[in-house]
């Protein structure tokens, strides 16, 4: 047990970037994704879960910026996702994190579904991105974390959905902690990977097939996305069941 905890210190859940960079061919495309949101919403746990496959037993406040990486296969192409996990405290975002907005390919906004104030903080984070002049073409997704805490959910899906809709982002609700959600967490980042690979607009039924998870049917309907035709302002989206394809939308 102690050994495990010790090793956590060194093992940040990602691949060994040093060896993976060395071994990777120059052809491997690298996508830089910044993960932002208020303190304690689970940014570290989400990235750790995706890159390392497990929930870290002891996480600490992130100071500055941490880095995790995972190589994934998207329709036969090996691509590398670099996740920049940032500190949530406001003072860090104002002067330390700016450097990391440069050349990002995607943004993941995270809030805690059990804490309304972390959801209410989202507009500030969006403004933050705007301040760093991120192109509107850069894919953004909204992730509500800690959906396993059923009794304490305070941010209703409908509310989050409206917000996501207004900001033209797909919404996902998940839990980095719940082992049953591991495929879901992966699906979220894989959705982004597909999007980055294809650079198509994130519209309904436009999600690429996640063949990697094709053999395993997801049990829970937690992958949510917005389907909206450019002409339609209807934001009524039903929660869709993630199919064996990994993601889908039935809006």
């Amino acid at each position: 047990m102690e050994d495990k905890e010790e090793s956590m210190k060194k093992d940040d859940g990602g691949e060994d970037i040093l060896s993976s960079i060395e071994s990777s061919s120059k052809q491997t495309r690298i996508f830089k994704i910044i993960v932002i949101g208020d303190s304690n919403v689970g940014k570290t746990c989400l990235t750790f879960r995706f890159c390392g496959g497990k929930f870290p037993e002891k996480t600490e406040a992130t100071i500055g910026v941490d880095f995790r990486e995972k190589t994934v296969d998207v329709n036969g192409e090996t691509i590398k996702l670099q996740l920049w996990d940032t500190a949530g405290q406001e003072r860090f975002r104002k002067s330390m994190v700016q450097h990391y907005y440069r050349n990002v390919h995607a943004v993941v906004f995270v809030y805690d579904m059990t804490k309304m104030n972390t959801f209410e903080g989202m507009p500030t984070w969006i403004e933050e991105c705007e301040r760093h002049s991120l192109s509107p073409d850069i894919p953004r997704i909204l992730v509500g974390n800690k959906c396993d805490m059923n009794q304490k959910i305070s941010v209703a899906t409908s509310l989050a959905q409206k917000f996501a809709d207004a900001n033209q982002m797909p919404l996902f609700e998940t839990s980095a902690k719940d082992d049953n959600e591991v495929d879901n967490v992966s699906a979220i980042f894989m959705t982004l990977a597909h999007k980055l690979k294809s650079q198509k607009p994130m519209m309904s039924n436009d999600y690429p097939v996640l063949h990697k998870y094709g053999s395993k049917e997801m049990k829970r309907a937690k992958v949510i996305s917005i389907g909206r035709e450019p002409s339609s302002r209807s934001a009524v989206c039903s929660r869709s069941t993630a199919t064996s394809d990994g993601t889908s939308c039935s809006c």
């Binding site: 102690e2 905890e5 010790e6 956590m8 210190k9 060194k10 940040d12 970037i17 040093l18 960079i21 060395e22 830089k32 303190s39 304690n40 002891k58 996480t59 600490e60 406040a61 992130t62 100071i63 500055g64 910026v65 941490d66 880095f67 990486e69 670099q82 500190a87 949530g88 405290q89 003072r91 860090f92 104002k94 002067s95 330390m96 450097h99 990391y100 805690d112 059990t114 804490k115």
Partner: protein, 398 residues
């Protein structure tokens, strides 16, 4: 752990009840065998008992191999290094800690700081200490409205709590926060950024090739941010290494943690230069601090770097307004007053009102040799220019 903190009843257990130095693994330090250790122990005691306290020697001993040796000595020596009278701990503020603007953030961070506590500690014991940690931090903030909490401050405070207990930790952290850590506690992190700006110039002076490589990679300095603002408490898992570094930092100029960061990067020169010259790669390599670093050597190297490239010589390049930094500008006065401390034997009697007239004489009238002041920097530098630099630096400090 749940994000909401359950309210707990504070027990009256002192941390020392379940955290004796022995259980925290205060193993003997390697300083030329037992006899060397005994000599050092005696020297530390002698410095503590001198009247005034021989702070210059104490600093020298805190910097040299093995530092202050054990937590029992640290409990006596750290207050002297910080010029804190252990018999006059500032009163706890009356205000409710939960009323402070940063209370919520402190709770979030302390709740997540499980790794900072000794492995194997019972949960209930750790929870008592976490509660104390929150109280200590918020009390310091309540008494000093100008100070702003930052994530990482709790990593420093926990080290003091574990070594000296909550009451003394409160006094030491308050002093530290208004001096060494002051710049980190501004409303924004601009001053912190300025201090980080020293890092690459130091590396550049010592190894231009390495600096050029780092510049080219655009790695920046954020990889060292957690080292600096937590005094390495956040990144080192071995508590012994952390307290050893604290001996060093408490005895030195407030910029010393940056010089140590430079020493660490320079130590890893080959690794850095043999890798890819790319921001992600270099950030990833450097931010993962090896746990088996030769700290005694690095401390020595950091000292040499400080002597060779003192902060004032770098200030221009670091774009740091040296005199405008609260931490740096207040350091001179801090150094001066630290030299006028009475030993605890006297302070204890004074508190009890049992001092004789001669013992009460104004210590400020005692003469201080300039040599003593120069000795503040105690590491023997290995370069020819060192002595000259020490004298210059000392002159600027005093």
């Amino acid at each position: 752990m749940n994000s909401t903190r359950k309210s707990r009843t504070l027990t009256k257990k002192k941390p020392s009840d379940h955290l004796s130095p022995a259980t925290r693994g205060a193993s003997p330090c390697k300083i030329d065998g037992d006899s060397g250790r005994k000599i050092k122990l005696a020297a530390i005691h002698k410095a503590l008992l001198s009247d005034p306290v021989d702070v210059a020697t104490l600093r020298k001993l805190a910097i040299s191999h093995g530092g202050l040796l054990n937590d029992e000595l640290r409990r006596k020596a750290w207050p002297k290094l910080l010029n804190v009278n252990v018999f006059e701990i500032p009163p706890k503020p009356d205000a409710d800690v939960t009323s402070h603007r940063d209370y919520h953030q402190v709770v979030l961070d302390v709740n997540r700081s499980l790794r900072r506590f000794p492995p194997g500690m019972r949960n209930d014991q750790r929870e008592v200490l976490q509660e104390q940690l929150i109280n200590v931090i918020v009390r310091v903030l309540l008494r000093n409205k100008q100070l702003h909490y930052y994530q990482g401050y709790h990593d420093i405070c926990v080290t003091f709590l574990l070594v000296v207990g909550q009451d003394l930790a409160f006094a030491l952290i308050e002093k530290l926060s208004t001096h060494h850590l002051r710049d980190f506690m501004d409303r924004t992190m601009d001053s912190t950024k300025h201090i980080l700006n020293y890092l690459l110039p130091i590396i550049g002076k010592a190894n231009p090739e390495l600096r050029e490589f780092m510049d080219r990679s655009t790695v920046g300095t954020v990889f060292a941010l957690a080292w600096l603002i937590t005094w390495y408490g956040h990144v080192l898992s071995d508590f012994r290494s952390v307290v050893r570094l604290y001996d060093f930092f408490l005895a030195c100029h407030p910029l010393m943690p940056v010089y140590l960061a430079a020493a660490i990067v320079l130590h890893r020169e080959t690794e850095v230069l043999s890798g890819e010259c790319e921001m992600t790669y270099v950030h990833s390599l450097l931010s993962k601090i090896p746990q088996d670093l030769p700290f005694e050597n690095l401390i020595s190297r950091a000292g040499d770097l400080f002597v060779q490239y003192p902060p004032t010589a770098l200030a221009k390049e670091a774009r740091l307004q040296y005199k405008q930094s609260s931490t740096l500008s207040k350091h001179d006065e801090f150094e001066q007053t630290s030299l006028r401390q009475r030993p605890d034997t006297i302070l204890r009697q004074r508190k009890k009102g049992k001092l004789t007239t001669s013992q009460l004489k104004d210590i400020n009238k005692k003469e201080h040799s300039p040599v003593v002041k120069v000795a503040i920097w105690a590491i023997t530098a290995s370069v020819g220019a060192a002595l000259f630099a020490v004298l210059n630096t000392a002159a600027e400090w005093m």
